[in-house]
Amino acid sequence: MNWRLSRYGERALSVVWADQSLEQTVWAEQHSAARMHALCTHLRAELGHRLEDAVPGVRHLTLVLRTAPQDWPALEQRVLAGLHTAGHASTPAATLRLPVCYDPALGNDLAAVCVHTGLTVEQIIARHCAAEYTVLMLGFLPGFAYLGGLPEALHTPRKATPALKVPAGSVAIAHGQCAVYPLDSPGGWHVLGHTSVPMLDWTRAQLTTLQPCMRVRFEAVDLERHRSWLDGPRA
């Protein structure tokens, strides 16, 4: 295992898993993200109040301390020890199913994805719904989850010019990943459809609907049902 530790500013430590051989596959990405998540959980308990934040990424994590540590070498040793004992995150038993309306009336980018992939709208929807996704990390916006596992046939680069406003609930893809916009925001991902399930609830202890390592599937719903769910709570 090849871990690289480096200091980030005065009070953060960056940990990178630099195992080149595993980088390219979807499985490796999920495996790596799960390790990073487990390690964050372990280090939160281990470092307690000293830790301001533990931020996992796909192949790295960042530990932000409250104050600049006076004991960098000891801290680095503790982190390295944690890398060997933390193990893996247990996979959540259930898969979250998110309804998606792919109707063109919602102003999506399906046409552009058709052009890029050479697939029909029906094929894109079928493939998008057939795959199982894993939350690799959150970032960009509160509740914005990077979902790994997008089928290769759907891989599409970001838009050359980002859209000024992507509405909250947009289900979008870029490169090999998929995401749901939690808030109205500028964005460069191609929107395939919309979900009526909110991604954020600031009044809840569980702020975000999607959590690290969670598994997600998308299910196509028609426009009428989508609108009825948007209007009222789900039956």
Binding site: Y8, G9, S14, D53, G57, H60, F140, L183
Partner: protein, 296 residues
């Protein structure tokens, strides 16, 4: 009911450019994508709170370039610290960086800011704001925290928890934050976590030039104008982004992350400004010149 609410508040007669409630920020939720936020210049917050006898991290009103006009509906001491602010009480000029005793009916005009971009307004007894995830800071992009999740607007009532008057004996000195001769902002900076994957010549270029802060700069970040940095940096994975970090875009432009910056970024993190000097950057305005002074 309305009368009671009005008695313990400040009413916004005229909004400033960007008036938001801020405190030390919202930590512990970066892994869910929640930015830290908080005062752009934490020193200004500490100073203002110290003058009115509040805990140093109590929520304050952060004002930008031009402050609001407020009507006091309570008796309370205020302090304005940070950039120099033209303060008028019922039209009479009043010193900043000193306590102001407001009584009901007073009109407090917080005018143009000079020598800096932001000031913090503290009120003795503190603003009465419900925290979100442990912080009162306004997060504009998510419309959360602060007063209704947004900047102050005309007609808003800014509630005060326990309005109090404090002895107004002392004044805090105002510090010139810039190099006296050149008016340059000079900030202590270290190489960033991705500097190892970038050519060494790039860091040298970075530390050897003067940057100008571009117009479309805000609480999320500043765009820096300079000679384009030549590089063929590999694309890096999205990773944690701390306020004070300079990222290098594929076109060779430097972007400086500030308090409302997103929690992760996908561009190489070239350099990081020391915490103390991020406050100094919080006082920078568009057009200001800036140099990064290497400390490690």
């Amino acid at each position: 009911m309305a009368g009671w609410a009005a008695r313990v508040s400040f009413e916004v007669l005229k909004a400033g450019v960007l008036d938001t409630i801020q405190d030390a920020g919202r930590t512990g939720h970066r892994h869910l994508g929640v930015p830290v936020s908080g005062c752009m210049d934490l020193n200004a917050m500490h100073q203002a709170n110290r003058l009115v006898g509040n805990p140093l991290d109590a929520a304050v009103l952060e004002i930008t370039l031009q402050g609001p006009t407020l009507r006091s509906h309570c008796s309370a001491s205020l302090a304005v610290c940070g950039a120099q602010c033209e303060v008028r009480v019922n039209g009479r000029l009043h010193a900043d960086h000193a306590t102001i005793d407001a009584v009901p009916g007073d009109e407090i005009q917080l005018g143009a800011l000079r020598r800096g971009a932001r000031a913090c307004v503290a009120v003795a007894g503190g603003f009465d704001i419900d925290p979100v995830l442990g912080s009162c800071s306004t997060l504009l992009l998510a419309a959360q925290g602060g007063l209704h999740g947004r900047a102050l607007m005309r007609g808003d009532l800014l509630p005060v928890l326990r309005p109090a008057c404090v002895p107004s004996s002392h004044t805090l000195p105002w510090h010139n934050l810039r190099d006296a001769a050149t008016q340059l902002l000079i900030v202590h900076t270290r190489p960033g976590p991705d500097s190892a994957v970038l050519p060494a010549s790039l860091l040298r270029q970075f530390f050897n030039q003067t940057f100008r802060i571009e117009a479309d700069s805000n609480r999320m970040g500043y765009r820096l104008q300079s000679i384009e940095l030549q590089h063929r940096a590999p694309q890096v994975d999205s990773a944690c982004l701390l306020p004070g970090t300079v990222q290098l875009t594929p076109s060779g432009q430097c972007i400086l992350a500030m308090r409302d910056a997103q929690t992760t970024g996908g561009y190489p993190r070239l350099a990081v400004v020391d915490d103390a000097d991020v406050n100094l950057l919080g006082q920078a305005r568009a057009g200001d010149s800036l140099r990064f002074f290497r400390v490690s």
